[in-house]
């Protein structure tokens, strides 16, 4: 394991995904980038990565924050992570009448 991939990063898990983490609200993952972190979470918690990503992109209705910033605005999945960063995952709260073309 190289230095970058040994970064320990705290990840807060929303209620809807806690069945994957045995009920834990917070888990620890590793990765030099957000993409690597999500891959690591998928190895630790089978299927969790597939609830966050599809075809190599973050799902539209999942929000991921690194140090309280929405990653969509600061580099997305390629964002570099450092030990001590905190990651929060939240499902978007969204919806609306049909005919919106948003999904």
């Amino acid at each position: 394991m190289n230095a970058a991939s040994s970064n320990a990063i705290e990840v807060r898990i929303p209620t809807i995904l806690r069945p994957y983490t045995g009920g834990s609200k917070t888990v620890t993952g590793h990765g030099a980038t957000l993409r690597e972190l999500i891959a690591d979470l998928g190895k630790q918690f089978n299927g969790l990565d597939e609830r966050l990503m599809e075809n190599g992109a973050l799902l539209r209705f999942i929000n991921v924050y690194v140090n309280d910033e929405d990653v969509r605005f600061i580099g997305g999945l390629d964002l570099a992570l450092s030990a001590g960063d905190n990651v929060t995952i939240l499902p978007a709260v969204a919806g609306g009448a049909d005919h919106c073309g948003a999904i």
Binding site: A94, G95, A97
Partner: protein, 139 residues
């Protein structure tokens, strides 16, 4: 499950929905994690500003969940208005529903019906919608 909710909170949701019409209004009613009774109305900004879509703005969403966590609260009710259709979850609502323990409340402000006549509550779990009775307390 039955949604038991005070008449004051029902009125507050209607006032918010009517104020935003024809844009969809949205928000939550928080309650203690121990009793899950709807207690504290938190109107949210619809960052989509749309008559057919709503979304809690992403930073406000994070701040909301932090605040709920700090106060040992949960989003007991997640509500939004439909401004030209009935108060029933759309395919979009079902696709996005991320809180299996929440009461999803829909209000319709469409003009063809009597005002404040459609206030309905649903559970949305794994893509399955089930309507539940609404019991208004304290009239």
């Amino acid at each position: 499950m039955v949604l038991k909710i005070s008449s004051e909170l029902v009125a507050a949701l209607w006032e918010h929905s009517e104020r935003e019409h024809p844009i969809e209004a949205c928000g939550v009613i928080a309650g203690s994690v121990s009793d899950r009774r709807p207690a504290r109305h938190i109107p949210m900004e619809n960052s989509a500003y749309s008559p057919t879509f709503y979304e809690f703005e992403s930073k406000a969403l994070l701040a909301l969940y932090r605040e709920l966590d700090d106060r040992d609260e949960v989003p007991v009710v997640i509500y939004h208005s439909h401004t030209s259709t009935e108060a029933y979850p759309s395919r979009t609502d079902i696709a996005y529903a991320g809180e299996p323990d929440a009461h999803y409340v829909l209000l319709s402000t469409r003009e063809e019906i009597a005002s404040r006549s459609e206030f309905r509550s649903f559970r949305i779990v794994n893509g399955e919608v089930s309507e539940e009775p609404v019991e208004i307390i304290g009239d």
